[in-house]
């Protein structure tokens, strides 16, 4: 019995080797593209003085939730500046934004596909389960081999880890749209694409936004792990503080992560409900102009 050994690990290793040899150029291309995207976003966040970014964030906060959220945002971001983690926080934000946008860009179509086809759903679901439950460290290793040390393996690992709720909640949202309303679209001769665009996506939006919120939160939770492979930002400081048993640095970097998390969570949650102060103002204005038109 002791001789029985499945050589799964060796097989995967061989597979990864084969991939690196055969598709090296492809991974180089991805590496360049992700790296470029990250550098661009990071540049936009780091270059302006911190107060410009705080004012922009405060504006967003006011538009989405109102003045209380705005005050909270200003306070929180000022604390980050105060503990001297601003630049790290912006690096991390850039990583989270790029990884989330990419994760969402992959998960939406997959979710739509899974909602439209039961076969696709049955194939996608176990893969997602696998991706989400496999410890994130594990796919850091192939990511490191394929993309080398730096921010890109961090982004890739984050995308894989954070994608699942995006796909799941997109599928759930679309499947949850009232069947009769979809039938109404069909009964009036709308094409599947039009039904998706005008009925399914808008009605599934709250659920999809909950998924997007989850994607962003999971991305943030990956920053420390990304820091381990050289992604920089707050994660790198947390890792460094671990190595040096530096409580002060660890706390300050950790606090900055929490503040970013709360800000992003509230922001996307407000967008998810579809009921924002700005939205209300726009709706009221639109209604007034329509009434003027009708009169």
């Amino acid at each position: 019995m002791n001789d029985f050994r499945l050589p799964l690990g060796t097989i995967v290793e061989g597979f990864i080797d084969w991939i690196t040899d055969t598709f090296g150029f492809f991974f180089d291309f991805i590496r360049a593209a992700f790296d470029g995207a990250y550098e661009l976003v990071d540049f936009l966040l780091v270059t302006p003085p911190f107060w410009v970014i705080i004012v922009l964030a405060a504006g967003l906060a006011l538009a989405t939730r109102g003045w209380k959220f705005m005050v909270g945002t200003i306070l929180g971001l000022t604390v980050i500046v105060g503990v001297d983690q601003w630049e790290n926080a912006m690096d991390t934000l850039a990583l989270v934004l790029v990884a989330s946008v990419l994760a969402i860009a992959f998960s939406l179509p997959l979710g739509i596909l899974a909602a439209k086809s039961t076969v696709a759903s049955n194939i996608i679901r176990p893969i997602l389960d696998f991706m989400q439950t496999m410890p994130a460290f594990v796919y850091l290793i192939p990511a490191l081999i394929l993309f080398r040390v730096g921010v890109v393996p961090g982004i890739v690992a984050t995308i894989i880890f954070a994608m699942a709720p995006g796909v799941r909640l997109t599928e759930l949202g679309i499947r949850g749209v009232d069947r009769e309303v979809v039938e109404a679209g069909q009964a009036f001769g709308a094409s599947p694409w039009r039904i998706l665009r005008q009925i399914q996506l808008p009605l599934a939006m709250p659920t999809i936004m909950a998924g997007i919120n989850q994607v962003i939160m999971l991305s943030l939770s990956m920053v420390v792990i990304a820091g381990m492979v050289g992604a920089g930002g707050l994660g790198a400081d947390v890792v460094a503080s671990l190595n040096r048993i530096d409580v002060a640095l660890g706390f300050e970097a950790g606090l900055a992560v929490v503040i970013l998390a709360i800000f992003l969570d509230r922001l996307t949650a407000a967008l998810g409900t579809g009921d924002t102060p700005l939205g209300r103002i726009l709706a009221a204005r639109k209604r007034r102009s329509q009434q003027a038109l009708a009169a």
């Binding site: 009232d178 009769e180 309303v181 039938e183 109404a184 679209g185 069909q186 009964a187 009036f188 001769g189 709308a190 094409s191 039009r194 005008q198 009925i199 808008p202 009605l203 209604r287 329509q290 009434q291 009708a294």
Partner: protein, 428 residues
């Protein structure tokens, strides 16, 4: 001839489950629904019918009898497992999806039980939805939607969201959306079932008005017999996936094809469904104004009735005379019946529902006259006949004598009077 047929279903079958085609094959070979239940559910079995243009065709049946499945095959929301559906002369079964969408845009639209409005769009955008799908420009379709909104009585609500409307109003939006699409055929699946009874009746009446105005072909699903009887020009009764009878409301009510239908129609509100024409009796005691009082008296004696119906010389209905008055007239030697014709005789049109006859029938013991638009006397409805019809007692079970108001003057007295006056006349 096909021009007058809006929708045609020919030997339609629909089975759900793992092996639908096998289910249908077995059903065609004579298996029963239960025998094939392990392979799947036979939801619609061998349904054939034709719906004429401008007709309200009602499909009625208990829950689970396959009504929704049937109506969804008529616009291809469900694929028929076997059989063909023809809409506006072109078959829609087995055609490519794009072509089917075209038929839905141009020929056939639908109103849903739970309204199925787009909740994130205003009333006017909902009403204009069909036109939008048809590719009509924004200005044009909103203008058209505005007239439809007025038509269905939603003036002033154009910019509201569906959630701000009551159920009845939401279904008006649903109806408006279907009307705006301007298709000849409207499918309505339990469209009024989610509404409370008063609103429901109001919507039914409005639907009939709209139908008369716009001449749409309507296929209406309901499990409510009263609704079926009220709306339907013809009714198809479904049971366990099969259509067991197709007929006019009166045919279904007075001549149910089997016990199932008979049981179904047992508790219908007959007063609203049956019309004067369906229960009227042939007129027996009838005289003409020129016939004179003696003829009237003799007829009343022969039929043993206290009143006779009087016709003018052109055959139109003049009124009723009573035996007492005629007797006096005869005794006085007067020859003109017109002086004693009672003005309070009630006459109704043949399509008046029985509910409208109850009151006059209670107020007067005279039979009600049924006359057509040229005032020709078609038949009469004595009070007992009316009561029998309302009480669900068959009135046409054979040659049972129909009881009419009994004569108030004895036969011998009439005979005597007739003899006396005859002798006087002879003496003159």
């Amino acid at each position: 001839m096909t021009e007058t047929i809006a929708v045609k279903a020919d030997r339609l079958y629909k089975a759900f489950g793992r092996r639908p085609h096998e289910v249908v094959k077995k059903m065609k070979a004579g298996s029963s629904r239960d025998e094939v239940s392990s392979l799947g559910t036979a939801a619609v079995i061998d349904a054939s019918f034709e719906v004429h243009r401008g007709e309200i065709f009602v499909v009625m049946g208990l829950s689970g009898s396959g009504k929704s499945t049937l109506i969804r095959m008529l616009n291809g929301l469900l694929d028929a497992t076997s059989g063909t559906v023809t809409v506006a002369g072109q078959p829609i079964t087995g055609i490519p999806a794009a072509q089917l969408r075209d038929v839905r845009r141009k020929n056939i639209s639908m109103v849903f039980q739970h309204f199925a409005l787009l909740p994130h769009r205003s009333v006017i955008d909902n009403v204009a939805y069909g036109l939008e799908v048809q590719g009509m420009g924004r200005e044009e379709r909103l203008a058209k939607a505005r007239t439809i909104i007025r038509l269905v009585g939603l003036d002033g609500w154009a910019d509201s969201l569906p959630s701000e409307l009551s159920g009845g109003m939401q279904q008006r939006v649903g109806l408006g959306r279907a009307l705006a699409a301007d298709t000849d055929v409207l499918l309505m699946d339990e469209a009024f079932s989610a509404l409370d009874p008063l609103i429901r009746r109001e919507m039914q009446e409005q639907l009939i008005e709209l139908q008369a105005e716009l001449g749409k072909t309507i296929i209406f699903i309901t499990h409510d017999l009263n609704e079926a009887m009220f709306l339907g020009d013809r009714i198809a009764v479904m049971r366990d996936g099969r259509i067991v009878q197709i007929g006019t409301p009166e045919e279904i009510l007075t001549d149910p094809a089997n016990d199932y239908v008979a049981q179904f129609v047992q508790d219908v509100d007959r007063a609203r469904v049956l019309t004067a024409a369906s229960v009227m009796e042939p007129v027996r005691a009838v005289v003409t104004t020129t016939g004179g009082p003696r003829a009237a008296l003799r007829i009343m004696r022969d039929f043993q009735t206290s009143a006779a119906f009087v016709l003018n010389r052109d055959g139109s209905f003049a009124g009723v005379v009573r035996d007492r008055d005629v007797l006096k007239l005869v005794k006085a030697g007067d020859a003109d019946l017109r002086s004693i014709i009672l003005g309070d005789a009630v006459s109704v049109s043949p399509d008046a529902p029985l509910v409208e006859l109850v009151e006059p029938s209670v107020e007067s013991d005279l039979a009600i006259a049924v006359v057509d638009e040229k005032k020709r006397l078609l038949g009469v409805i004595p009070r007992v006949t009316l009561l029998a019809a309302l009480g669900n007692v068959s009135t046409n079970t054979g040659d049972l004598p129909v009881i009419e108001p009994a004569a108030t003057i004895s036969v011998s007295m009439i005979t005597e009077t007739l003899r006396e006056t005859a002798l006087e006349g002879a003496a003159l």
